[in-house]
Symmetry: D2
Subunit: 347 residues, 4 copies
Amino acid sequence: MDFRSDNVAGVAPEIMAALAKANEGTSASYGADDITARVERRLTEIFEHPLRAFPVVTGTSANSLALAVMTPPFGAIYCHEAAHIMVDECGAPEMYTGGAKLVPMAGKGAKITAADLDRALADAGIGEVHHVQPAAISLTQATELGTCYRAAEIEAIGEIAARYRLGLHMDGARFANALVHLGAKPKDITWKAGVRALSLGATKNGALAAEIVILFDPVLAETFAYRRKRAGHLISKMRFVSAQLDAYFIDDLWLRLARHANAMAKDLAAGLLSVPGMHLLHAVEANEIFAKLPAGILGGLRRAGFSFYDWPGAEPGTIRLVTSFATDPRHVAAFISTAKNLASAAA
Amino acid sequence: MDFRSDNVAGVAPEIMAALAKANEGTSASYGADDITARVERRLTEIFEHPLRAFPVVTGTSANSLALAVMTPPFGAIYCHEAAHIMVDECGAPEMYTGGAKLVPMAGKGAKITAADLDRALADAGIGEVHHVQPAAISLTQATELGTCYRAAEIEAIGEIAARYRLGLHMDGARFANALVHLGAKPKDITWKAGVRALSLGATKNGALAAEIVILFDPVLAETFAYRRKRAGHLISKMRFVSAQLDAYFIDDLWLRLARHANAMAKDLAAGLLSVPGMHLLHAVEANEIFAKLPAGILGGLRRAGFSFYDWPGAEPGTIRLVTSFATDPRHVAAFISTAKNLASAAA
Amino acid sequence: MDFRSDNVAGVAPEIMAALAKANEGTSASYGADDITARVERRLTEIFEHPLRAFPVVTGTSANSLALAVMTPPFGAIYCHEAAHIMVDECGAPEMYTGGAKLVPMAGKGAKITAADLDRALADAGIGEVHHVQPAAISLTQATELGTCYRAAEIEAIGEIAARYRLGLHMDGARFANALVHLGAKPKDITWKAGVRALSLGATKNGALAAEIVILFDPVLAETFAYRRKRAGHLISKMRFVSAQLDAYFIDDLWLRLARHANAMAKDLAAGLLSVPGMHLLHAVEANEIFAKLPAGILGGLRRAGFSFYDWPGAEPGTIRLVTSFATDPRHVAAFISTAKNLASAAA
Amino acid sequence: MDFRSDNVAGVAPEIMAALAKANEGTSASYGADDITARVERRLTEIFEHPLRAFPVVTGTSANSLALAVMTPPFGAIYCHEAAHIMVDECGAPEMYTGGAKLVPMAGKGAKITAADLDRALADAGIGEVHHVQPAAISLTQATELGTCYRAAEIEAIGEIAARYRLGLHMDGARFANALVHLGAKPKDITWKAGVRALSLGATKNGALAAEIVILFDPVLAETFAYRRKRAGHLISKMRFVSAQLDAYFIDDLWLRLARHANAMAKDLAAGLLSVPGMHLLHAVEANEIFAKLPAGILGGLRRAGFSFYDWPGAEPGTIRLVTSFATDPRHVAAFISTAKNLASAAA
C-alpha cells in the first residue's frame, strides 16, 4: 500500500508486452529504427503540429536537454521555486547549459503567474553585460504540488515569452495527468499557448524508463541530437525505449493510465475530507495529494502498512500521497477507512 | 543476417524474464531497491574485492562519469586515438569533466603501451601551470579493434598510473568478451593490475540498456552519486536496470553470452581465411572482425542480404563484422559460403 | 563631480609610480618575478598567518576562482541575494565552478546572518543525491550596501561553516574600507573568524587593475594556479600587477586611501542629513551612500554637473553615491550645498 | 641579456606615457569610456572593414573568447599540434567553449595546410551524432616557431572554412611581427583571406597587458560581451587597457616596435650562422630563433649572463631565442661574439 511516489509502481502490461514484441530480430541502433520514427509521426498527429521528438530515459535529462537548446551559458531560466529543475535535479540544468542560472519565483500552488514574470523580467537588466540574460521560462504541468496550469494561464505566459523572445519550456513529467484533468487537447496547453519545448514523461505513468522531448520549433532541434549524444543519453538499443512510447500513445493508453491515477487521487482526497483534523493543502488536480494530518494518525497509518513521504520544508504533519496508473482502489479505500478509524479512536 | 554491430541484437531471454519478474509490486525508486543492492554485493564476490557499483544505461555515461571522478577540469586523459571516448562520444568526457583534454595515442591493435605512455608523461609538463595535467589513463577492453589487453600489459600500465598518481579507467563495453578470450579472472585484469574504475557493459552482450560503473577505490565513489544524478543518469525505476544486471551475472550468463559471440567471430574469421583475396586486419580476439575484401565480393554479400559496415578511415574494401550473443551460426556459415562462391565466380 | 562608482577614479600616484619603477630591465614572466613573491610575503605579515596569494586583475575572477577551489560542480554557494557574485558577474561563479548553484538569501543591509544560514542549511538536503550540496558561503565585506560585518558576525558564520564543513569566502572588493571602518586587524575579520579565502580588492581603492586572492588554507591552493591559467587570468607581465599590490600594501597606503574614501562618504552623508526630504537607506559604514531624495533635487544636482546612479530595483528617487580615494572634498561640499539650495528653492 | 621571451620585456615608453595621460579625472567604467570607443574606430580604419573590437588583458582569454563565440560545446577546433591554444593554455579553450575538442594537426614550421585540413574534414563525420562537429579553425600568426603564413596560404584555408561553414580564428599574439615580415596590409591576412576573428596581441610587443579581440563578423559579436564579463575579463577601469591599445596603434607604433624585434632576430640569426656547429631549425620570419648548438657553447653563453630557454620536446641542445621591441642591439652583438669565441675555444 505504497503512496510514496508514482515511480514506485512498475510497468503497465501493455508496455511490457511492447518490449517483448520489440525483441524480435535485429534493428538499427541509436534511433535509426522504425519504431522511433513511428513515435515521432504519431506525436505529430497527437499534437496536430510539425515537431521533432527525441526519446530519452529520464525526466532530468529531458528537461536539461530541452533547456540547453534554449539557453546560452550566460542565460537565465525562470521557474517556480519548487520546480523539479530548481530543487530536485542536483544542478542538471546548470550542467547541460554550461552554467546558466535558474531564477526561482514564488507562486501559489507551485504555479508562476504572467504578472510576476513580467515584473521580474522588467527588472532583469536585459542587455546589461553584468547580468545573466533571460533566456527561458520553464513551467511544470502538472506542478510539483499536483495542480494544473489552465490554457489561458499558459497563453499569458507564452505571450510574455514571445515579447521577450524567451524559450518556453514545459516539464511534463505528469503531462498526461494534467491533460486528463483539464480535458484539454494536447495542442491547447502546448504550442498554441506558446510552448516551444515539452518534456513529455511516460515513466511515472506506466513506462519502464521513457520520456520524450518534443520540440515544436525546428530551430531548437538543430543541435539537440549532438547534445543528447554528448550527455550519454542516446540509447544504443533505442527501439526498446521507443517501443514503450509507441505503446504509450496507441489507443490513448497514456490517457487511460492517467485517468486512473487521477481518479484514485480524487477518491482518496474525497475520502480524507471526512477525517477529522485533516487539511488538504492544495487543490487535487492530478495524482498528488498534499495533506496535513495529526501525528497520531500518520503513525497509525504507517503501522498499518501504508507508506508515504513527509513533505520537506512544510509544517510537521504534512505528507504527500501519490497515486499512479497501478494504484489499487482497495488500497485507497483501506487508507481512508484506516485514517477514519484512527481519528475515531483518538477522539 | 546482420553483422553491423552487437547493439543491433535484442535482449537475451534470461534478461527479458528478469524484467518481467521485477515488475511485481512497488519498489523504492532511484536505486534504493533490493535488486540494486544485490548486484553490488554479487560484483564484490565476482571481483573478489570491496567495490562500489553504480548502474547506468549507456556506455558513454559510464565512461564519462568514471572519468569525471578522476579528472579535474584542467586534467588530461590518455587514451588510444581510436578509443570510443576519443572518437565516438561526441565529447561526452569533456562535458562531464568540465572540459578536460583527451590525449590521443597511437598503438597497434588499438592498444596503448606502457612504454609509450611513459614517454608521453615524461614530456607532459607536470607541475607547469601552462599545461593540462595528466590525471587519468583509459584503456578499452576488448579494444575497438577486437583485440584484448593481456594482464601483464595492463599491469605495466597500472604501474605507470601508480607512479604518476593517475587514475586508471577501463572501458569495458565488451569486458565479458575480453574475459572469455583471455580466460582470466575478473580481478586479474582490473584492480590487481591497477584499474581503479571499470565501465562494465551489458548492453552489447544481451541487456536492454544496462551498464555498471565499478569503483575499486572508495574515494572515487564519494561524489559519483551526485554526478550521476546531475547528469540525468539516475533512473527512477532503477530496479529495472538492476534486474538486467542481476540476471546478467547470475550463473555466469554474461560469460556464456560472450563465449557464444566470440565463438561466432572465430568461426567467421576462420571460414573467411579460405576466401581468396581476403585479409584479416587484426587478431580476432573478441567478437569483432576487421577484414579487407574485394569490392565485388562485398557487393555480392550485401545483395545476398548480409549487412555490415565499411570501416571509416581505412582503405577501401575494409569492413567490420560484429557477432553477438544472438548470432545465428547458420548466418555465419551462410556468410562464409556466400563469400567463397562469390570469390569462385569472380576467379 | 563624479559619484557614480569608485571605479570611475583613476590610479593613486604611489601606484602609478610603482608601475614606472617596475618598468626597468627584464623580468621573469607569469608571476615568477621578485615583486610577486614579495607581495605574498608582505601579506603573510599583514594577516599574521601563513597564506598563499594569487594576483589577478578583476574582482569577478578573484571571486570565481576562490569559489571554484571550494565548490564542486554539484555544490551550492550561499550568499546574500544582493551579492555581486549573485547579481553582477553574469554567471561567472557558475562558469568557473562548472555549474554550481548560488543560493540567494535575504538579510538586512545586504548582510546574511548565522541564524538564517543555519536554518537554510538544515533544510538543504545534505547527503541527498537529488539536491545540490552546500559547499561554500560567501560574504561581502564591505557589503554592496556599504555596510560592514562585525568580527563577531563573521565568527558566528564561520562556526557554521566549520560545522557543515563548508568553505567560507569573503568578497573583499572594498575590504580596506571595511577594515578602516571597523578599526579591526586584518586577521580579526578573516582567518580568525573562519574565512578561508579572501578576494582582496585594490582596483576600487586606487589601483589600475589589481586584486589578490588570499588562501589561508594550503589545500585550497593546490589547484588554484591551474584554474587561474585556464581561465586566462595569469598575466604574462605579472610584475606590473604585483607592483600595484606592492605599493598598495607599503606604508599602509591601502588604509590611507580607504580612510579618505570613507571620510568623504561620512561627510557627504552628514551634510545630506540637513537636506529636507532626504532619507538615508542604510548605515554609512564604508564609502557608499544610499539615499532617497525628491526628484526635483536629483534633477537639479544632475544639471549642476553631479553624476550618480539611480539604484535599480529600489523606490523611485533612490540613488547611490560612491566616494573614493580620489574624491575631492570640494565636490562633497558642493554636492551638499547644491542639494540644500535646491531644497530651499523647492520649499 | 635576456632572450627568454618577449614577455620578459617591460612596457614601451609611449605606452607608459599613455597610461599616465589616461590617469586624469574620472571616466565611465567597464569600457564605456571614450578611449575604448576610439580604439575600435581606429581599428576599423586600420583593417579597412567594419568590425567590433573588445579589449582584454591576456592572449589566452582573447583566444578562448574568440573561439567560444564560434564553437558549440560539441564542436571541434582544428589547429596545429604546437598551437598555443593546444599546448600552453591549460585547457582554456575547453573551459570557455564548455568542453569543445581541439584537433591537433601536424605541419612544417608549426603551420597547417589547406590540403591537410581538407582531408581531415572529409573524415570528420560531419552530421554524425557520435562525433564532435567541426566548428572552427585556428591559425597562429606568427606561429609558435617564428614562421609566418602567407596571405595565399590563409586564403586557401579560408576557402575551406567557408566551404565547411567553419569559423576561422587567428591567434595574433605576434600579429605585428608577422605583418612587418610579410609587408602585408592588415586586411590581406585577415578578413580578405577569410579570417572572422583575430586575437591581436600588444603585450608581447610593448604593452603592459593589452590584447584586443577583433570580430569581422557582427554575428559573432552578439554574445561576446556577455562571455567576456562572465569570464571575469571585463576590466572595470577599462580606459587603462584601451589607452595602451590607443598608443599602440597611433603613428604605427605597433609596426615600429615589431620591426625592431624582427630586425634583432634577423641580426642574431645572421650572426649565429657563422658559429660552427650551429643549426637553425626554422626560418626566422618574426622575432623567434630556434637553434641547435653544442652543449659547451650553451653552457658558456649562460655563464656569460645570457638567458634563454631549452626547447621542450626537441633534441638536446635546441634552444629558443626571442627578441622584442626592447632588445638592445649590443646584447645581440655580444651574444654572437660570445658564441663565436666559445666555438673557437672549443675547436
